[in-house]
Structure formats: structure tokens, C-alpha cells
Symmetry: C2
Subunit: 202 residues, 2 copies
DNA sequence: GCCTAAGTGGACAGCGTGTCCACTTGCCTT
DNA sequence: AAGGCAAGTGGACACGCTGTCCACTTAGGC
């Protein structure tokens, strides 16, 4: 397992004033509510400012756009999954050296299942954070990419770089929403992904 | 091969006045040029109107938004591919009944190759037409979806509906651009897709 | 309590959208 | 050949969102 780019752990922040902290909390709470109750793409910075009871300037001071707010909300959940991938028990984690570990296909299936669950739980945030091309720029995406590339490598396939992105494509939040709106359950989506994972890597 | 929803063949249009036809041609030409020379997402309806030498009202009369224009430009190429899928020789087409035909995995790989070539040739249009969630609503997407679902069915896998969308995900124009910008060649991308196709369906 | 820098909020200019409608022009009729 | 009318045209308009800027306020160390 080579160098996985970890999502920055919110390192030693320069101290934050009490009113600033209060407003940050208000902003995040208001944004989460708004994302959940309408199409995240239609939520404007102005809406969030108004709902949080702060001015536009205050909002822009911390977050350059809607996506940054959604990402901040999503980060926590994604870091939890990253932990499990790095240090959790098989099939999700790598397993002890010398101990038993799962096949690449099983591990990819387990990862897919976790991601599907994460999307199921926080789809509005994912849609707010990673719509379209922005997805590929996030730190989290880089992490998933490195993880999947490693699994591809272990499976002995050519060109893990290229395949990793292609294997992550079915996890695009927009596709997940599309499939849910077609009436497919989260389980059914996860089952499809599991099939894909096993057949591709095992 | 059941009921594939064909893209409407531009049926008997109500006759179009000569000046209207001239302006339509101007609009399409101007839009294609603009899409090619900058990020399609940044091209505005106003830009297109100005470049085509027509007023905004004229533009909106025919096309509700940028995506509709890009789709009109793409349609021609997509219909050509649809023809080949339905009636072309193997491995792309189904082959004669009783004659030789390719395996589902080979056929999916051939389809992937054609789509990658189409993206390579017309990426700006694809980005203009199918950015984000809009992709799933187009008639063309429905066609690809039905085609891939049929291949999945022939391969004997469960739930072709769900898998079809997931197998189409790596063809998202934004992903293609992302991979190209990473320095991957079209051939390398196509090779990855071929691996995916064969391992999944064969 | 005072001082200072961090924090705040609303005003502002700019841009893109989509609509609307008075005018123009192609084309069919007689 | 002329007339009429519906299709077509283009630009003005109102609206909403963005991102910046800056004069004011407040927290918290000294």
C-alpha cells in the first residue's frame, strides 16, 4: 500500500473567535437543511446567508461557493470511511500482514457498498459538493482513486490509473440520484455494483 | 432484440421559411465554433446570438438553452452510431440470425470503442449537451441504455436495468475530459474500457 | 477599560437569463 | 402583380445571482 493522499485533518487552525464559530455553525446547519429540502443545485449563497441569519460577506469570507459548504459537511463522513479503508477489518480494510484478507473483487465490492450507503445517507450533500466536473478535483476523490487503483493493481490488471477512474464512475452522485428516481432501491444499486466489482477484479 | 427507442428521425417538419433556415444554419455554425474554442460551459446564449449575428429572441425561438443546441449538433453523429449498432456487422452489430456474432463482452467493447471515438471527435459538443444530470434525460442516452441492457441480458447477468446505467457511467463526457487532461490518450482510455467490458460480460 | 485585528453585513456593479412585443419579411392567394 | 397574414426577428426589459468592497462592530488580550 503506497502513498495514499489523506484528506487533511483540519490541522492546527489559527484560533477562531467565538462569534465566528457561532456563525460557522449556523451557516453549516442552515445549508444542510436547505440542501435536504430542495434540489441542492437551486440553493444560492444568498439563500444560505438569509437562512443562517448572516450577511453575504460573512458567508463568502469562509466559503467561496456552495460546493465548498457541502464539502465541509461531507468531509466528516468521508474521513470515517477513509479510516475504515486504511485500518478496518477485511473485506473493507487490507487485513493484517500474514493474516487473512479478502480478494480485490471482494474489497472493491465492500468499498462500493460503503459508498452507496454514504450516498444513500447524504445524497443532497454529495450533489451539492460534487456536481459534474468538480468531482474530480476534490481531495476525497483522489483518495478513492488511489484506493481503487491499488485494488486493480493487486488484481493484476493493466493500467490501474485508467481503470480506477472508470470504476469510480458508477458512484457519481448524479447517477445515483437518477437510479433512485427510476425506482431502484439502494440495495439493488449496491447489488449491481457488487457484481461489477467481482467480475472485474476477481 | 426488443423495442429500442430510436432517436426521432426529424420527421415531417412543418415547412421552414428561407430566412429561418439561414439563421438556423448560422446559429449552429457559430455555436459549434464557440464550443470548440472555449469551455462549453462558459458559452452563453448571448455569445451564440452575437456570433451568429441574430437577436436573442431568434435564438430562444428554437432552442431553449445551450444544451439543446449542442444536442442538435450531436444528433447526426449519434444516429450514425445507432445505425451501426442495429444493423452493422459484428462485433458492433448483432450479426445475422444463424450467422456468426460476437460475445456480449466483445460487443460491449466494440460499443465502448465507438463511443470513445465519438467523444474524442466531438468532446466539446458532448460537454455542451450532456453536462451533469442532463445526460440521463436525452433520447440518445435511452438508446445506449437499452442496448447495453440487452447485452447484459445476453450475458446472463442479473438486473440488466441497473447494470446498464452503471456500465455507461465511464462514458460520461466529464470523465473523458478529466482523463484526457490527466494525459491519458484516447487509446489508453479505450483499452481500459475494453478490459472492463470483457471481464464484466464474458 | 482600551486597543486592535478579526469579524460582520449590506450596498453595489456586472452579467446572464428568459420573456415580450412592435416591427419586418417570406410566401401563398387571387 | 399586389395584398395580406402568419412566421420570423431582434432588442429592450425586469429579474435573480454572483462576488467584491468597505465602513462599522465586537471579541478578547494586555
Amino acid at each position: 500500500m503506497s502513498e495514499l493522499p489523506l484528506l487533511p485533518q483540519a490541522g492546527s487552525a489559527p484560533p477562531e473567535r467565538a462569534d465566528a464559530a457561532r456563525n460557522r455553525a449556523r451557516i453549516l446547519a442552515a445549508a444542510e437543511r436547505l440542501f435536504a429540502e430542495r434540489d441542492p443545485a437551486s440553493v444560492t449563497m444568498e439563500d444560505i446567508a438569509k437562512a443562517a441569519g448572516v450577511g453575504r460577506g460573512t458567508l463568502y469570507r469562509r466559503y467561496p461557493d456552495r460546493a465548498a459548504i457541502a464539502r465541509a459537511l461531507l468531509d466528516e463522513h468521508e474521513r470515517a470511511l477513509q479510516e475504515k479503508l486504511l485500518r478496518g477489518a477485511p473485506p473493507l480494510g487490507p487485513g493484517e500482514p500474514g493474516g487473512r484478507s479478502a480478494s480485490p473483487g471482494e474489497r472493491l465490492a465492500a468499498f462500493y457498498a460503503e459508498m452507496a450507503a454514504l450516498l444513500e445517507a447524504h445524497l443532497p450533500l454529495a450533489l451539492g459538493a460534487e456536481t459534474g466536473a468538480a468531482r474530480y478535483g476534490t481531495g476525497a476523490y483522489g483518495f478513492w482513486r488511489a484506493h481503487v487503483a491499488q485494488l486493480v493493481r493487486e488484481a493484476g490488471l493493466d493500467d490501474p490509473q485508467t481503470l480506477a477512474d472508470q470504476l469510480l464512475a458508477p458512484l457519481a452522485p448524479e447517477l445515483f440520484r437518477h437510479q433512485r428516481e427510476l425506482g431502484l432501491s439502494g440495495e439493488r444499486i449496491a447489488a449491481g455494483l457488487a457484481t461489477l466489482a467481482r467480475r472485474t477484479l476477481d
